[in-house]
């Protein structure tokens, strides 16, 4: 089970709220302005607590008035990883209700795919709206069966191009990890490679199906029964109305109150906002590491993960 687009959306909405409510110290404003994409990438990657906390801990000591670019990327990354956790902790309890066997009619993998499809429709308006990053493009063809090139009726899908570039990307990403060049034991190297290439591999055709051809019973079960996204939730309405992050305003406290009556997405957003503001307070030495850990619902399991 995996969400991608919903993690991006929660990250984007959380950052909007952080700017508008003026919760960001200068170094974070810089980081999230210049390296917004770093946070976005982190929000779509795993094991975030392993680095979000050490990053904040490392740079909160002796804070200079500005950081170099790479440190800014890491600070933005820490925000992204914390929003990922917010999204996960809101969605996972629902996903756990479903069978983990992919061949079951209702299963947790497909449920997460339907979550992403709904976010694509609601937040990204079926690709009419992209992300706010110029380095992450979401388009009307993001969920097409192979990416069609050219808007002519007889245009062929660019499947071969997609294949080459996809394999090329994953080879590149694998190379971004130091073990590729440092691991000297072939067996361990291959095991680590397996983690990169093999584990959790998702079939993107499921995502295409969920957008192009959503099943009525599945929409009911995955999205409606569990109240995944409700555009009328106050926090969602508010965040959708934020057009720019230049202005700041005091938002009513009630807006941030978590409640079971809210949709999963609204709760994800509220958690992500709570975790990131806690991260910032920890960075500012306003709360201890333990307090920060409590707020982000850290468990022993997180350390092992």
């Amino acid at each position: 089970m995996s969400e991608h687009y919903s993690h991006i959306a929660v990250y984007e909405d959380t950052v909007k709220l952080l700017f508008v409510t003026d919760r960001l110290p200068g170094v974070f404003k810089t980081a999230l302005t210049q390296f917004y994409d770093s946070g976005l990438i982190a929000s779509t990657s795993r094991d975030g607590l392993l680095w979000a906390i050490p990053i904040l801990e490392k740079y909160k000591v002796n804070q200079p008035s500005s950081f170099d670019d790479e440190t800014s990327m890491k600070l933005a990354g820490a925000i992204g990883w914390l929003t990922h956790r917010g999204a996960d902790l809101a969605a996972k309890p629902i996903l756990k209700l479903f069978d983990s066997n992919k061949s079951s009619h209702f299963n947790n993998t497909e449920c997460s795919v339907y979550f992403d499809a709904e976010v694509y429709r609601q937040v990204f308006q079926s690709g009419k709206k992209s992300t706010r990053s110029m380095y992450n493009l979401i388009t009307p063809s993001s969920f097409t069966k192979h990416f069609n090139l050219a808007n002519t009726p007889n245009a062929k899908p660019a499947e071969a191009l997609e294949r080459i570039l996809s394999f090329h990307m994953i080879t590149d990403w694998t190379m971004l990890n130091p073990f590729v060049s440092t691991e000297t034991d072939c067996t361990i190297w291959l095991q680590k490679m397996q983690k990169q290439l093999h584990d959790y591999h998702e079939d993107y055709r499921m995502y295409v199906e969920a957008v192009q051809n959503p099943q009525k019973d599945k929409t009911q079960k995955y999205l409606i029964d569990h109240n995944y996204y409700n555009p009328h939730d106050d926090i969602i309405r508010r965040v959708r109305s934020i057009a720019d992050t230049e202005h700041t305003e005091e938002l009513p406290v009630t807006l941030f109150k978590e409640s079971d009556s809210l949709s999963v997405y609204a709760r994800a957003l509220l958690k992500a906002y709570k975790y990131t503001t806690a991260g910032i307070r920890f960075f500012q030495n306003e709360i201890s590491k333990d307090e920060f850990g409590q707020i982000i619902e850290r468990t022993k399991h997180d350390n092992e993960n």
């Binding site: 991608h4 993690h7 950052v15 302005t33 210049q34 390296f35 917004y36 994409d37 770093s38 990438i41 779509t44 990657s45 795993r46 094991d47 975030g48 392993l50 680095w51 490392k58 990327m73 890491k74 110029m134 380095y135 992450n136 493009l137 388009t139 063809s141 993001s142 990416f147 090139l149 062929k156 899908p157 660019a158 071969a160 191009l161 997609e162 294949r163 080459i164 570039l165 996809s166 394999f167 090329h168 990307m169 080879t171 990403w173 694998t174 190379m175 971004l176 990890n177 130091p178 590729v180 440092t182 190297w189 397996q194 093999h198 584990d199 591999h201 998702e202 993107y204 055709r205 995502y207």
Partner: protein, 285 residues
């Protein structure tokens, strides 16, 4: 808040080929794979290593699929998929700059499927190296990034199933950039190295920005190549000849029954393709 940079693409175009990080350098010094043009290592980012090995691997697999004399075992080792978890996907790990001597020496017959695929990838990578390193070594250092781009553009155009005349540069850029999110989705979520997430985010950010700039450059050359450069980088170097039999069989939907049917190629790419197939085939004998 599209404010990551005021004009990032222009800014990035100038630095598309900067050295990505110390890790890249360290990684690339290790093995022969993907490292044509050794002397240009400082100018290299990952993807700028080029599409040659990946295209060769994909087309070698195409040939293996169509070759009626190739064993099922070998076909399986090359039956990779972007849709499914698949042992054959390890073939792409074989393109990474790391050569395992033990694997090079051991026989395909004694290996599990992942290692067979991995070794097949290594063979393709080594074959690519043998065939193309000379033209990269002979190229003026500052021109290597452009040489790579012309080779990539040329390969992607010819091995793909699109009619490039129907496509505008903008459509192609959008296509290339849109691919990133689905690809991340396919990996479930990205998984940083457990020891190094902090630096990983830095490298991934740079990769992504460089890829966005690369997409622009690539689309530009695919749709509007400079004829003088095509002459210098493709024709004069005998890079690819679409009448080569190995390439024709890889592209066309026809089976073939004997190895010699794809032999006798004139271009470097055509020869490398034949050699990749033959060496893997010999290994499986």
């Amino acid at each position: 808040m599209k404010t990551e940079m005021n004009n990032p693409i222009d800014e990035l175009s100038r630095r598309t080929f900067i050295k990505l990080s110390a890790i890249a350098g360290a990684g690339l010094m290790l093995g022969p794979s993907l490292t044509f043009g050794e002397d240009a290592s400082e100018d290299r980012t990952y993807f700028v290593n080029g599409m040659i090995p990946a295209c060769l691997l994909l087309q070698t697999a195409e040939l293996a699929r169509k070759a009626t004399f190739v064993s099922q075992e070998m076909k399986k080792a090359l039956d990779f998929s972007i849709y499914l978890t698949n042992e054959a996907n390890f073939a792409f790990a074989g393109l990474l700059p790391h050569e395992w001597k033990a694997l090079t020496k051991s026989s395909f017959a004694d290996m599990p499927k992942e290692k067979q695929a991995f070794k097949a990838g290594m063979i393709v990578s080594n074959t690519a190296n043998e065939h193309f390193s000379e033209i990269y070594s002979n190229c003026e250092r500052s021109k290597i990034p452009e040489l790579r781009l012309y080779h990539d553009a040329c390969l992607l155009k010819h091995v793909s199933d699109i009619d490039i005349k129907q496509v505008t540069k903008e459509e192609l850029v959008t296509f290339l950039r849109t691919l990133v999110s689905p690809m991340i989705t396919r990996t479930h979520t990205l998984r940083p190295d457990r020891d190094d997430g902090m630096n990983w985010i830095v490298r991934m950010t740079k990769w992504n920005r460089d890829y966005y700039a690369y997409a622009e450059n690539l689309a530009d050359i695919m749709t509007k190549p400079d004829p003088i450069k095509v002459d210098n980088y493709i024709k004069k170097l005998n890079f690819i000849d679409l009448s080569d039999k190995s390439i024709r069989y890889a592209i066309e939907g026809v089976d073939f029954g004997e190895m010699h049917q794809v032999d006798g190629n004139r271009s470097l790419y055509g020869k490398a393709l034949y050699e990749s197939l033959k060496r893997i085939y010999d290994g499986f004998k």
